[in-house]
Symmetry: C2
Subunit: 261 residues, 2 copies
């Protein structure tokens, strides 16, 4: 595609026969095109689990990376799918068109059989654009590293992504009074999971260093009901928003962010 409006290996067919659909599919799969098929079908999946979906009209996407998804008329998520790197097999039998998508590791397969195709489309989209997402938890950590004072005056970085037994500590620092501070970051509101995660880190560091350790949960806000557990476990909460972090990143010279805040 992308040839000034001129069709380049772009196929669009209304009500193709199963025979035609079969040959179009074989061709598109070989060329690793982006295939869109609407049709009346039945779906069976077996692998990590098993499923069956009776006859109905759906839209199927097959991408050049070997992923497939079956979309019903409602619902954000596909009803059946396979992640990239599947092997596809197409054949006709008993007046039906079969599409099979097989995967190893885990070993599983998805089989669709069609009795009617509503439309068939295939093309090779040209898409080399960069995708940027703001602000991830990782970027919040970067902001905190660049300016720990956004969390608390006098806070200083000692280390980040420090490995202790239960996992990785987002931010490991020292406060104005010289006490160790462990910070657990959450991009959105923090719940019990985050609190317990922080507690594990605090316990682990206490065990290793023997020193007094502060555990600080930094997030836009606490989920209601989490406050109790936090206090009970002797931990602290500090409000930290993605927006604030974005400002820090912008100020400290990271471009790209600027257009989005």
């Amino acid at each position: 595609m992308n040839v000034g409006g001129q069709s380049l290996e772009f196929i669009l067919v209304k009500f193709p026969s199963l025979e035609l659909s079969e040959s179009l599919l074989r061709n598109s799969l070989k060329r690793r095109e982006f295939v869109t098929v609407a049709g009346n079908c039945e779906c069976r999946y077996t692998g990590r689990a098993s499923s069956h979906l009776g006859w109905g009209e759906r839209l199927i996407l097959i991408k050049g990376d070997g992923s497939i998804q079956v979309h019903r008329p409602k619902g954000y998520e596909p009803v059946n799918w396979q992640p990239p790197q599947c092997n596809f097999y197409v054949h006709r039998s008993g007046g039906l068109l079969f599409i099979e998508a097989h995967r190893r590791r885990p070993r599983e397969s998805l089989t669709l059989n069609f009795d009617r195709i509503i439309f068939y489309s295939s093309f090779k989209p040209v898409d080399n654009a960069e995708f940027n997402l703001y602000v991830s938890e990782e970027q919040m950590r970067d902001a905190l590293i660049r300016d720990p004072s956004i969390l608390e005056d006098g806070l200083e970085l000692v280390d980040f992504e420090r490995k202790v037994e239960p996992g990785f500590i987002d931010f490991y620092g020292r406060d104005a009074d010289g006490r160790l501070v462990i910070v657990e970051l959450k991009r959105s509101q923090a719940g019990k999971e985050a609190i317990l995660q922080l507690k594990r880190y605090v316990d682990a560091v206490l065990k290793i260093t023997g020193q007094n350790v502060r555990g600080v949960l930094a997030a836009p806000r606490l989920k209601s009901g989490a406050q109790g557990l936090l206090v009970e476990l002797g931990l602290e909460f500090r409000r930290l928003t993605p927006r604030k972090c974005a400002e820090v990143l912008k100020k400290s010279g990271t471009r790209k962010i600027s257009e989005f805040i």
Copy 2:
């Protein structure tokens, strides 16, 4: 659709102008049809996070339930999306076609602008089929309820989905020696999260009852490395497979299962 091969409000257009695309879209959105659009576009999202995706050729699905997804040529997951119940706004400006999808709670919006449409399709799929999935964790719980002995001789049900402070206990029972048993089920291999989840329940029940409580993790297998934590926390592992559970369900009269094992 579904009228013996006859087109009923089914539209398929190759290279529609932006003007035509706009009017087709307005119509389809009003009728809550399933829309498939391929075109060259730029995408901006803002809400729980923010993102920008430069120009490129993609496939967009808009469903009658108000969900939208933008698919790049690779990757199982859409690069941008909105879940069901969005409000859509379509307009043309500066030689571009804009599609906006807005959501409240959380407040967020996705905006696509196109400079070229490769194809446009809309139809109203007829799909009333039942979807059945085997074997879910819930079904494994049902099997364990019907025959607790599959986990351990003498085990008896006391309650299930019992609410304690941290959450819901899958299976709450009593062993041959009269001790309380808390079972955490996993349909696939269990890792640290499952162990910690179980530990929370055990602690909570211990606190409430003051009795000796056994914590049992039931899953097809443990992830390597999880064994240590399990032992450390004084918990037990029992192998339980979906297959075994399916057999119990089949024996105890649940149909449908039979075709999938």
